[in-house]
Symmetry: C2
Subunit: 413 residues, 2 copies
């Protein structure tokens, strides 16, 4: 077994091979990685069967389904890698260029971070997605998945490494952490000088631990307590449609709505319509005013406003006006996605200006916060922080830049 420190040192030693690889080399590697993944289908399924066996009785059937691989899912992972080949290379772009009076030429050029770390939970496909995004963006990568997917991830990484080698790149630029204890996560968080960026993907507990303990640069992702505010000037039919979509089209994802804020003037007409439209599919947790307009609801608890249920549960609160809605969001926002439904352009403008989140919607569902929907073609995650990257992160957000200054002996006066 390799220690996490040994893997980090090896990545630092080998990173230039991928940091400096040209577009053709990287695309050849992606093609070979995808092919090898499919070629290794039997081995990957055998490894996955081990994970599934170990998981029996330990995790829910929903989680077991997330863990399960099939030949079709492996093909999807390979095709996912192949879609990256056609995307523009984010590395080596001249972002700006200035020629000074003294003749110096200052070029701001995009480049990979160097070594990226990813900490994530469940879903074996994240292993191939993250590795492929790292390769396309010229980064060496260290992956730390959950204990319950280790055998699957190991088999996947073995295939990806073979693909790298087939394309003439060293296998050592993609590594999987072998120690799945908490200790290895802490080693990644504190690998200052070795790890140039750490992206945790997972629940609030993981993100919180990383924020508190990391000394390496981190991009927080994922936790989304999204809200829809239905203003008094909302189109009723539109409001029902948007809230229904935001809540029920896929409740388990971070861009699903968790909280509904309703203007007091509209609550009496809107809430019964919404309850009728949802047809018992969603359990309400309503404040006192909202409850008076609903047939079936539980009373809301204070902590419900700060809980990411990821389930068919909707917290409902009646507010006096848009300002109360905006203040409520300022107090509880996780910085992900917030929406207003209103026909009043002044209210819409105030909402978009004052609400501080990655994505602020007017008359549309929060469910659109997604790299694919935003036209990024791929997505490493949704950043909920304000530094470097905000909202859906694509290949561009996996790069940094440097200034290259060319002269002929210039000195500063």
């Amino acid at each position: 077994m390799h220690t996490t420190q040994a893997l980090l040192d090896s990545l630092v030693d080998h990173k230039l091979a991928i940091n400096l690889a040209d577009t053709a080399q990287k695309n050849a590697a992606l093609a070979a990685m995808a092919d090898q993944l499919e070629a290794d289908t039997d081995q990957i399924l055998a490894a996955n069967a081990k994970d599934m066996l170990a998981a029996q009785g330990k995790i829910s059937s929903v989680m077991q389904d997330r863990l399960l691989l099939t030949a079709e899912r492996i093909k999807e992972m390979a095709d996912g890698i192949r879609t990256l080949i056609a995307l523009p290379d984010p590395v080596g772009l001249t972002l700006e260029e200035t020629r000074l009076d003294n003749g110096l030429i200052i070029e701001k050029r995009s480049q990979p971070f160097g070594v990226i770390g990813m900490i994530y939970e469940s879903r074996p496909n994240v292993t191939s997605d993250a590795a492929a995004l790292a390769i396309k963006s010229g980064n060496a990568v260290i992956l730390r998945g959950g204990k319950e997917t280790f055998a699957s991830a190991k088999a996947i990484v073995t295939a990806l490494k073979a693909g790298l080698v087939a394309a003439g790149l060293p296998a050592e630029v993609i590594e999987l952490v072998e120690d799945t204890s908490r200790q290895s996560a802490l080693e990644l968080m504190t690998a200052k000088g070795k790890l140039d960026l750490l992206v945790p993907r997972g629940g609030a507990g993981l993100i919180q631990a990383v924020v508190e303990q990391a000394t390496v640069p981190v991009i927080e992702t994922g936790t989304g307590i999204c809200r829809v505010y239905v203003d008094k000037a909302a189109d009723l039919e539109m409001a029902v449609r948007v809230v229904t979509n935001a809540k029920t089209s896929r409740p388990s994802v971070c861009n699903a709505a968790e909280v509904l804020l309703v203007h007091q003037d509209l609550a009496a007409t809107f809430l019964p319509e919404l309850e009728g439209a949802l047809g018992g599919q969603v359990a309400f947790r309503a404040d006192e005013k909202a409850a008076s307009y609903l047939q079936f609801t539980q009373p809301v608890q204070a902590e419900d406003f700060d809980t990411e249920f990821l389930d068919y549960i909707l917290v409902v609160k009646v507010v006096a006006n848009a300002d109360e809605a905006i203040a409520h969001i300022a107090q509880h926002s996780t910085g992900h996605s917030e929406a207003v439904v209103t026909a009043d352009t002044a209210t819409a403008e105030r909402f978009t200006q004052q609400v501080d989140a990655a994505a602020v919607y007017v008359n549309a569902s929060t469910r659109f916060t997604d790299g694919g929907q935003f036209g990024l073609d791929c997505e490493l995650g949704i950043s909920t922080q304000k530094m470097h990257a905000r909202g859906p992160m694509g290949l561009r957000e996996m790069t940094t830049y440097k200034y290259i200054i060319r002269g002929n002996g210039q000195i500063r006066q």
Copy 2:
């Protein structure tokens, strides 16, 4: 006295007034802040005299000079604020706009971070510089200067606050931390959810403490151990000129060179010429090979390669070739500025590609790494990290962005 927590809470309560201020309001505030600073010259000088008295015998005469204010220096601070007025407003810019097939319009719009914190040492002018940059970029700001400049900083902030009020903005968007103990620095570092960005400016010890303890987003600035590599294909006269400028034009700043790497084939001719040119102004600390070509030098110690001397000291090492120079830099770089002097374009290309620093120079002095020199017109600091901002940070780097999505009832399929 206000506690740091009370100041942070007050900033959060008042931040929207500056976050949402338009360009005219912000420029009016800057003009009034500059005027008030000059109008308060007597009060500021009286406060500075207190700081100077308290400093006597405690800090070096160089540091005392950095601490000293004069009417002329206050005028310079005011003029520094006035130069920001003409600069473009970095807030509210449409960075990108996409119209999706479903009719959704996705706008990526620049916006202030919200509340920015600055921790810095000595130099009273940093107080007015940082506050003015924050106001221009639409951010509320909390300033924590050193204990030795507290009275001066307090008088300066009093003037700046009066300027804000004269322009119709709340005084509470610029605050000075009153507690100058380590505790208040720690409170800023861990003010998660209140402070949107923390920028430490100061020595390696301060930066290190912030990186280790901060849970809020941080931009590391300042520490620069810059190197010049003189290649075998260097023009001798140019190499002497560049090294002399990089080392001696202003040794106390972060973009001054600390280490000279010399190709072994050139060392015998170059080092004596350099020693002659420097005329005893610089003390060498040379490795064994380099020492054999120098008349006066001390032997280098291992830690000298990782020390920011900020003084007339030059560490000298002879290397076998460009690859050894590049490897040495990879091991010791602080990510600030690194230069090569060479007439060989292939070597120059390899150096710029492989050296990972904010600024990589070919045939020019490291002393150009500076916001003003890079055409930014102003500078909050030099970022030595790769996330969000790298190298000189101007107004643009003090902003983030959000996505504003406008629809007419779109839902996700």
